[in-house]
């Protein structure tokens, strides 16, 4: 086993074995109670429904129903027109809004940067799997920022990237001019995305390592014996064997970029400068809470959901294709 301790301890097999002992103990403790009456039996029949009821009710009422409600809202008006149907009015306004256009352009930028955000943890996981000296240490350190809140990460980088902050002080000492990292509309979005990748690559790394744990080590040994170089091993052994993991990381990284950058945006730039760091989720929050335009926000929510649906469907397509190849 190449990297023994990435094996999930959430492992049913061993639990099953432990279960045998627990059951006998439990049976002894509770004692046998054979004489159950009919009423008890009927109550038992509904037991599964009672057990799933809290989860199902909460998910239906506070997840699925709001989704329909939101789509419905997006076709009604705001303010004086509250509740009246306005057709696609909100959507027309949305796509004409320069801030939303910027948000969509920034989504495009995220898509372009996606391969980088996947390749970095993939490459690092490969090195860790191949047991670079100190691989355990790297894994622990790299994963750490992934458990920190975007708010904390954003606040720390606010400090580091401030115009009169430490990074510019370092640049100044080597004679480079200060850069307004978070105040320049051409730079700010790259900084926010960069910080997001810095903070989350450890998450993808762990997923990659879990994929590596399922890899047949004999394949690698065979390649080694045949004198394959590292690049050949990566291209011809690792990537084909991990195609599913790679797809999973692509999708989860994209979803992460679309739905977990709010904290960074809120703390680092608040959408500025000049609205250059808007993303759909920030636009939704702004319209909902600050501008009091819930219907317009709902239209943006629906668009965001459709973007995510496309990402999800693409994943299914890819899975089907790789299934045929198998």
């Amino acid at each position: 086993m190449p990297i023994g301790n990435t094996q999930p301890s959430v492992r049913p097999a061993s639990a099953g074995r432990a279960g045998g002992a627990a059951v006998t103990a439990a049976a002894h403790r509770s004692g046998a109670r054979p004489g159950r009456n009919r009423g008890g039996l009927r109550a038992e029949r509904y037991a599964p429904y009672i057990l799933v009821a809290p989860a199902v009710l909460i998910i239906v009422l506070l997840r699925l129903y709001p989704l329909l409600l939101g789509v419905n809202f997006s076709f009604t008006g705001d303010g004086a027109q509250n509740g009246t149907a306005v057709g696609f009015g909100n959507y027309r306004e949305l796509f004409a809004d320069p801030l939303f256009q910027t948000a969509l352009r920034n989504v495009g930028l995220l898509v372009l940067l996606l391969p980088v955000a996947v390749a970095i943890p993939g490459l690092l996981a490969t090195f860790i799997y191949l047991r670079v000296p100190g691989h355990r240490f790297y894994r622990s350190v790299y994963f750490f920022p992934a458990v920190l809140s975007p708010v904390i990460v954003g606040a720390i980088f606010n400090l580091l990237l401030a115009f009169d902050g430490p990074l510019n002080a370092v640049l100044g000492s080597v004679g480079a001019g200060p850069v307004d990292w978070l105040g320049d509309p051409d730079v700010a979005m790259f900084m926010v995305v960069g910080v997001h990748i810095w903070a989350t690559f450890g998450m993808a790394l762990v997923v990659f390592l879990a994929g590596f744990a399922t890899l047949d080590a004999a394949l690698l040994d065979a390649a080694r014996v045949d004198g394959a170089t590292l690049r050949q091993v990566v291209w011809h052994v690792i990537i084909p064997a991990l195609s599913r993991t790679i797809q999973f990381v692509f999708v989860t990284t994209m979803i992460g970029m679309l739905t977990s950058m709010f904290g960074l945006l809120y703390v680092m730039t608040s959408g500025g400068p000049e609205g250059s760091t808007y993303l759909p989720e920030f636009y939704i929050w702004k319209q909902q809470g600050q501008m009091n335009r819930p219907a317009l926000a709902s239209a943006a929510s629906t668009i965001l959901f459709m973007i995510m649906l496309v990402v999800g469907l693409l994943q299914i397509k890819l899975l089907e294709r790789s299934g045929k190849e198998d």
Binding site: P34, A55, V147, A169, Y266
Partner: protein
């Protein structure tokens, strides 16, 4: 073979630099939190001359981080306990019991996985306002439970699927009720999964900012992360206090990480491989 070994050492150099880049920002913040305001302005990078805790205690009391800390601790604890209770109940029923409609209910729960909070933020805020739950702790707890329940149900169901059905059958023959099986067998057997899922949920809830921002407008009810965001405007000219506030919010996560790193990584890995 020796060339390969040399290559490994060469790769270790950029990897070490990256490791440094990964932890340095937090070390820098911790260092700044110990400095006086004057020290920071004079020298940003130098090590603090003393383990000064004044800034931290000031952030804890006068900035109100202490109160926000307690708020967060309460909300996260209740949310995680409810998530584990509801998640294990549903997971047990959906994996071990045969009943009409079980696969449809499982798919319904799974569908919740694909609906992020951003997409339902507006209607959810309206539902919470209509039921007078907005700006209350039960309201925020309910939103957290709804947010992370699909994931919890999914993981608990796939974990309990690995437990042989004979165990349940044997207990039933011995006269145990379904609830008895849940309480005396499924809960204890589920401990490793409950621990992993519980820690992950605790981190998710503790780290959240968007849901707390939408559901908890009042300053009294602020969670710790909202407290951190409010530091920026108030203390942007007093960097050591700012850094102290950030540190207060990061330390619990750091401690959890140091002691429970395995469980966190396992939870993430289980979520990816069970899919």
């Amino acid at each position: 073979m020796s060339r390969l070994r040399l290559g490994r050492w060469l790769i270790a150099i950029p990897m070490s630099l990256l490791a440094l880049a990964t932890i340095y920002p937090l070390l820098f913040t911790a260092n700044v939190a110990m400095k006086t305001r004057r020290d920071y302005i004079l020298d940003r990078f130098g090590l603090t001359d003393a383990l000064r805790l004044e800034n931290i205690s000031a952030a804890w009391t006068s900035v109100g981080m202490g109160r926000y800390f307690v708020n967060s601790l309460f909300v996260v604890t209740v949310s995680v306990l409810l998530l584990l209770l509801f998640g294990s109940m549903a997971g047990f029923a959906l994996s071990q019991l045969r009943f009409r409609g079980s696969s449809a209910l499982f798919l319904g729960c799974l569908a919740g996985l694909f609906i992020p909070f951003q997409v339902i933020m507006v209607p959810l805020a309206r539902i919470m306002a209509d039921t007078a739950l907005i700006d209350t702790y039960p309201g925020l707890i309910l939103v957290y439970v709804a947010q992370f329940l699909p994931f919890t149900v999914f993981l608990m169901t796939s974990y309990y699927k690995g437990i042989p059905p004979e165990i349940v059958d044997a207990a039933r023959i011995d006269g145990s009720t379904v609830y008895g099986v849940y309480r005396r067998i499924m809960l204890p057997l589920g401990t490793p999964a409950l621990l992993s899922v519980g820690i992950l949920n605790a981190l998710f809830c503790w780290n959240d900012v968007l849901m707390a921002l939408v559901m908890m407008p009042s300053a009294d009810h602020r969670t710790l992360m909202i407290g951190v965001t409010s530091l920026r405007g108030q203390y942007s000219d007093n960097i050591p206090t700012f850094a102290s506030g950030v540190l207060i919010a990061a330390i619990p996560v750091l401690l959890v990480y140091l002691f429970l790193q395995r469980q966190i990584a396992d939870g993430v890995a289980a979520g990816s491989t069970k899919g």
